[in-house]
Symmetry: C2
Subunit: 197 residues, 2 copies
């Protein structure tokens, strides 16, 4: 999981809760442009263990959103590293406006993707060559899984677990977290709520 | 929000996401028996800003669960401080096996409460004088809001926001997080899934 100053709390810890339930089948690693304590948009900080650089050997790279994405879309060094790490990872998932970072890095060009439904205009403007999908809980296109806003990251994470391991692991993770998985990627009442459909 | 080594990630960051959406109407404070980095059960650490001691002036004290609760129910100094802080806070919410800590501290005696549905036998054994409710997403009794496992903390947090501020603030927080609030505290498919009803 990538974090950066101003990340959105649930974007990060919802998916980590789900992947964290796979016990020996997954190891979590929190990385950041600068390792150490990284403050969230809401204030509370998490600790990044490693730098977002070099050979990380990631099976899954997860990219959250939050107000901290706003300066990063104008940071060429960050975007170049993100592009490189996306190329190296076997699977890439984004949560909320994390897809704006992927879009600006160019890795979603020509692909279908979604994003936060309140920040839809800003996020989609970061990738004019992306086939943005306004009504979707998450969108899968090749190795990229992009989710809608905040909470949608948990549903996407469970879908990514189902794709990379098996559906039984997703159902077990959801049951253990007493979480009602929205297993249908087309479920998205928030698109209508925000006037996107 | 109280944290301790071995806390469950979503127990902490689900409710903080919801309270964090109240902007100037709430300030988040993460406290721990020892401030500084505190590792979760899953590995990733958060940073506690202050010690769980002294006059914290909390309107709402939130107590998470996780495997880290197991040693704490046998820690008299921690339980005495928890009892004191519960007395001082205007409202107290627990997530998952956080209610086992409240129960062991004695503050739920004679009250209705719920807890995680997989760790139900262990958690309820910590409070023989608590009126445990097996089928509930959360239970409100006086100033205490106790939730079921992990994800249930988000639904409880929104209920606590509705009680302490107003329902509009809860609906706005849920919509902003693209979260489908289970507003009915009786909604609990996990009680049946775990053979409790």
């Amino acid at each position: 999981m990538l974090v950066f100053p101003g990340f959105e709390l649930l974007d990060v810890f919802g998916p980590l809760e789900m992947f964290g339930r796979l016990s020996e089948r997954a190891r979590l690693l929190v990385v950041a442009p600068a390792p150490g304590p990284v403050p969230s948009h809401q204030g509370p900080a998490c600790v990044a263990e490693a730098a977002f650089a070099g050979e990380l050997g990631l099976d899954v790279l997860l990219v959250p959103g939050g107000m901290g994405t706003r300066p990063l879309v104008a940071d060429p060094a960050f975007l170049a590293e993100l592009r490189r790490q996306c190329g190296a990872a076997r699977w890439v998932g984004s949560i909320c406006t994390g897809s704006a970072l992927l879009a600006k890095a160019g890795v979603l060009d020509g692909r279908r993707a979604t994003t936060n439904k309140r920040s839809y205009a800003w996020a989609t403007a970061q990738g004019p060559r992306v086939q943005w999908v306004p009504e979707a809980r998450w969108v899968e296109d090749g190795k990229y899984f992009t989710s809608a806003g905040v909470s949608a990251g948990m549903d996407m994470a469970l879908a990514l677990i189902a794709r990379t391991l098996d559906r039984a692991a997703s159902l077990e993770a959801a049951a253990g977290a007493e979480y009602e998985w929205h297993e249908d990627p087309a479920w998205d009442p928030f698109a209508r709520m925000n006037g996107l459909v």
